[in-house]
């Protein structure tokens, strides 16, 4: 692997009852998949507060993967539908902030679907690699960037602009 290859940082939120076990299965079955994802286990995809996603993106993640039980199979009856609705609204909000909606992905994976978990993860990493770094950076770094004066601002141009008509 060359030095200039961009390695995306992905945060993955997994459901305790399905997708976390799917990732476990992928591991115990020695399946190979991209190592870029850092998994955080939640009790349910319905626990996923959109704050988690925004926090991850604002602190340096290039993409966020949300995983849960297939529709109709939620351990808590219907909370994965809530996750689906939050995900769809969150993507619309992110678009307004200049973040490609594809940077947040929702995957359904049952405890038996280790192979699916592995292939979806690898596909997502490749997709983010194509999109490039998000570059939000750490919040403290971002603060210093946003407080800089912009260079291209018309206000800072010299006096050689068109003269004010008399």
């Amino acid at each position: 692997m060359t030095d200039n290859t961009f390695e995306p940082t992905i945060i993955g939120f997994t459901c305790n009852w399905c997708s976390y076990r799917a990732s476990d299965l992928a591991g115990t079955a020695r399946m190979k998949y991209a190592p870029n994802v850092r998994l955080i286990r939640l009790m349910c995809s319905g626990r996923l507060d959109p704050t988690f996603v925004l926090r991850a993106l604002s602190e340096g993640a290039d993409g966020v993967m949300i995983t849960g039980c297939h529709p109709g199979e939620c351990h808590y009856i219907e909370q994965n539908y809530k996750a689906l609705r939050r995900f769809l609204l969150l993507r619309r909000v992110l678009q307004g902030l200049g973040i490609e909606p594809e940077r947040v992905k929702l995957v359904w994976a049952s405890a038996a679907e280790g192979a699916r978990f592995a292939s979806e993860t690898t596909a997502f990493v490749e997709e983010i690699r194509k999109l490039g770094p998000l570059c939000w950076g750490k919040s403290s770094e971002q603060l210093s960037v946003i407080s800089e004066q912009p260079d291209d601002l018309l206000l800072i141009t010299d006096n050689s602009q068109k003269e004010v008509p008399a």
């Binding site: 507060d49 704050t51 689906l84 619309r92």
Partner: protein
Amino acid sequence: MTVNGGKPKFAMYWAASCGGCEIAVLNTHEKILDVDANFDVVFWPVAMDAKYKDVEAMEDGSILLTLFNGGIRNDENEHLAKLLRQKSKILVAFGSCACEGCIPGLANLSPVGDIVHTAYNTITTDNPNEIYPRATYDVPEGELHIPTLAKVLRPLEQVVDVDYFMPGCPPESHQIAAVIDLVIKVVKGEAELPPKGTVIGAGDSTVCDECPRARNVKSIKEFKRIQDIAPVDPDLCLLEQGIPCNGPATRSGCDARCPGAGAQCIGCYGPAEGVMDYGARLITAFSSVIDATTPEEIDRILDGIPDPTGQVYRFNLAGSLLKANRDAWKVK
């Protein structure tokens, strides 16, 4: 708290704001006389003549209380924020702009060049010679300067250390009066200041908690704008009627004025206690009431919110986790 040499000093400043906060202070009616009776007003550009150099000449920490309203949009705002921080014992981020960016913070959705272009060279502005303001300009008398814009608007806390936050657009006058009373009591030694960082002049719950409208289990098949619903049920929760009401995420303290008067909460009191990101909380609230389970149906319902980013970050964008559109803050 005793103060040597007469009455404690009071200052109020407006940065990138509309002036509504100043009016809200004056709307405390006769309470404003208490301010005058108990404080020496040393700096308040909207109400009295004072020069920045007068403030610069003051001793550090010599102003007891400064109410700072408005966000930090240009280098003049930033200078005054740092100056007043240095000169003040207690610096209050006063009003939504100073606390979280407010409506001026929505400019963080656009690169600053676009903002200037829109202001000076669009259909609403007759500018055939494309004349733009300049940071400096030479005139026979010397060089003139005007403040230069920053990339984005920042709430006060992102620029200087802030002691207290007083939300609202503007803060409700009865809340301001209560805070004035408290400060006067503190000055007289009859009360203690709350811990640093406290949100003052507001409640610690949500607008829904104060809202008089009846609430049931919500299941929404359609989001609609309030003007598209006739008639609006005067007694039923607005969100239940499909109107995107920001009450569930918004801090209490306004006595639910807007829902009480028939309009949806727009969120001017900022995030409720314990909410890290206002928009995220609203996304959760709206998603929870949608009655659909297929992506197609959910998307159809979400189409009823034409500007999702503006809806969930109307007052809070500059103070949110992401703070600005990527195109706005990545500008070099």
